[in-house]
Amino acid sequence: MSGVAAADDTHLKLEIDGPGVKPETLDPLATLELGRAYFRLLQRIAEEQEVSLELTGLTVEDKCAALSVTPGNFKLAHQTALRADRIVSGGELSSHRLEVAAEDFRAAVRALPVEQSVAVLVGKQRMPVAREPAAKVAPRRSITRLRAMVVTVGAGHQPFARLSSKSELRAFSVKVKDVPTVQLLARHLCEVLDVDVAVDRDAEGLIVRGELLEFTPVSESKNLDEWRAWFASAGGADWSGVEDVEAALGRDDEEPRVDG
């Protein structure tokens, strides 16, 4: 590979700087691992946003040393690199899958000699990469039950399911405990289930990651027969003797009720 410095604003570069750093002096394995981890992180972010981020070509530039690629869509690459920067620096919570990719990249940065530093250059913007996250945002953790559709499942290194619920602003992914559970879920693809999930939410309340605890199939029904039978067995008839439902519920009070 030859050292060619690209001067235009359409490239995405991963720069390694430090005393005596030149393409000829780099540790090839550590450098290639750094590039692999970073570009994989960008691809994962794009996949999660259901967009395709095309990166082509690879040049090693001879200004310090920089791995340079050409994005098919520069604006998308810029946005993705900005998000990668927030995730790697600990400023944004991310899914388990992205967190694994981000930690992979951090490990590749840490594997370089301590006197070397890494920065991402996207257009005219330069983003230094810290060896450790500056401050990790604490997630808001909770367990909840949602009615959600199974969008997709995966049984790779970490089994997962992607779910979509009308109670949430966007689809989200959760870890699934094992492959047999993924196989059970796969039978309900594009079906609605009741799911118990432990989730982490970001500052905006969006689910960034989670774990599936349990799921229950939902039977299709276009009438209220089952519900009325349930209501009757749950003491619903008791309500027929109530003269004023609103009064019995305390809804006609201006002030809160204090019973007993």
């Binding site: 009615r147 029904s221 519900w227 067995s233 619903g236 439902v245 519920l249 009070d253 009720r257």
Partner: protein, 176 residues
Amino acid sequence: MGSPPSPMDPSRLPSRVLLDTTVFIRAMGEHKADPRSLDCTDFVEAMVAAGKDVLVAAPSLAEMLRGMAMPAVPNTGAITVVAFDDVAAVELGTKFPAKTLKTVPGSLPATYLKYDAMIAACAMRHRCGYLITLDTNLHTQVPAGLKLAAPGEFCAKQMQLVAVPALPTKKGTGKS
């Protein structure tokens, strides 16, 4: 003879609603003597038949049970029971008017949250277009962003009877 046609206008039915306890109890077939009960059953039946989302907040079950034992809630697509969870709690604590969160005078100094506020918070948290209620007091207790409606508001508009103008008579054939 089939059942009479629903008085609800399918084109006006919202896509996703949460039923207040006042409507849920009536929609389950109780209180047939109350004229508003028919609107409740018609509305919920029309929503379910149209495949729309009908939600009931878990606090409504607590209000409804009044000490009775509760059998397992049906897992059907007709009605979804939704939880009052941390997101609903944040909605209630940050978006609802301060007067909804009242301090009970006397022996209970703690902030007292009424069921109805929790139910309204569930409607917001689970992204419902409407909270369907017969409780007129609720209007003053919820944020402006939450729409409230009574089931009867989704009835088809009745045709108005209008006077038919007299037909013109042909020249020469009219009465004198």
